[in-house]
């Protein structure tokens, strides 16, 4: 399978995502420049972390106007798997591919540290290899990860089981003291209604090798690879 990793001016986690896909998981990977008009045959699209276009107005606000976002949107609408990590999550929110918005972290500080996450849902292409209730230790690095959705939207997100990961303590319990940014309902990752578009603030691509301090991010990439393997075998059966 082939990963397409979008590069915006100001992306800075594109190489990490490329390395995880290509070197750690042995998959094809190709960079997609933000001015490209097509996805070069990618089976999965990653919008990586960074500061796309500088994030001067709001995080992700300008990136959604980049030419590559038209094919990304069309791909997502056809059910193609799209993962937004950190700034990529912010871009998906601004582009309306995921509901809600990001605010400045509650404590105003840029938080760069390992945090704990509880897996809430596994029926997405990016969480299928995990188990519900599993606790992951993955790093974050952001100043605007305070996820917000108005009460009605939030109710709907919860009812539709769109929250994929929540910030918790090391034992998997939601606790304000372990919520690094003030996100409503401790939301760290969520999916769209079709469950093929996922946004997450933590960086799984930074947690795929023991050398880097942990391998809990592997489960996200494993999920993608596994989703494709089963899709391929289904296609073969047909």
């Amino acid at each position: 399978m082939k990963f397409g990793i979008v590069v915006f001016p100001g992306s800075n986690c594109d190489e990490d995502a490329f390395h995880a896909a290509k070197d750690v998981f042995g998959q094809d990977a190709e960079y997609l420049w933000h001015k490209d008009a097509d996805l070069k045959g990618a089976d999965v699209v990653i919008l990586p972390g960074g500061f796309a276009h500088g994030d001067y107005l709001r995080t992700g606000a300008m990136a959604r106007f980049s030419p590559i976002m038209a094919p990304v949107r069309a791909f997502a609408e056809r059910g193609g798997p799209v993962l937004g990590i950190c700034n990529g999550f912010q871009i998906l929110l601004e582009a309306g591919l995921l509901p809600g918005a990001m605010l400045r972290n509650k404590g105003l500080k840029y938080r760069c540290e390992h945090i704990y996450l509880r897996v809430e849902q596994t029926d997405t292409p990016f969480s299928g290899a995990a188990t519900v209730g599993q606790v992951l230790r993955i790093p974050i690095g952001h100043g605007e990860g305070n996820y917000f959705a108005p009460p009605d939207m939030l109710k709907q997100l919860e009812a539709n089981r769109q929250v994929i990961l929540r910030y918790t303590d090391p034992h998997g319990h939601v606790d304000d003291a372990w919520n690094p940014n003030g996100s409503v309902n401790a939301i760290a990752a969520l999916c769209n209604g079709g469950r093929n578009v996922v946004g997450m603030m933590p960086h799984p691509e930074r947690a795929c090798e023991a050398l880097l301090g942990g391998v809990d991010g592997c489960v996200i990439f494993d999920s993608i690879v596994r989703a494709f393997r089963s899709a391929d075998s289904l296609a073969l059966q047909r």
Binding site: L57, A101, L103, R104, N105, K106, L108, P150
Partner: protein, 79 residues
């Protein structure tokens, strides 16, 4: 014409910067400053002399780019 666009967080949205500023002001002795909400201010120079057209253009820009309707609202003044 010139348009001024004021973008602010909706009243229901917590403003961590505003909170920090009001806390700082109160610690400086400004006890009568009860609350602060921080926002953004844009001045747009518009290549039109038509007021209605200017208002429409500024609103279009605010809707599509300057404000995020999920968390922010805006007010426009044109002269």
């Amino acid at each position: 014409m010139r348009a001024r666009v004021f973008v602010t967080l909706k009243p229901s949205v917590f403003d961590p910067q505003g909170r920090t500023i009001v806390d700082a002001l109160q610690s400086l002795g400004y006890q009568n400053v009860a609350d602060v909400r921080q926002g953004k201010y844009f001045e747009l120079d518009l290549a039109t002399t038509e007021r209605t057209q200017a208002e429409k253009l500024a609103a279009d820009v605010a809707d599509k780019v300057l404000a995020n309707p999920v968390i922010e609202s805006y007010r426009i003044e044109v002269d």
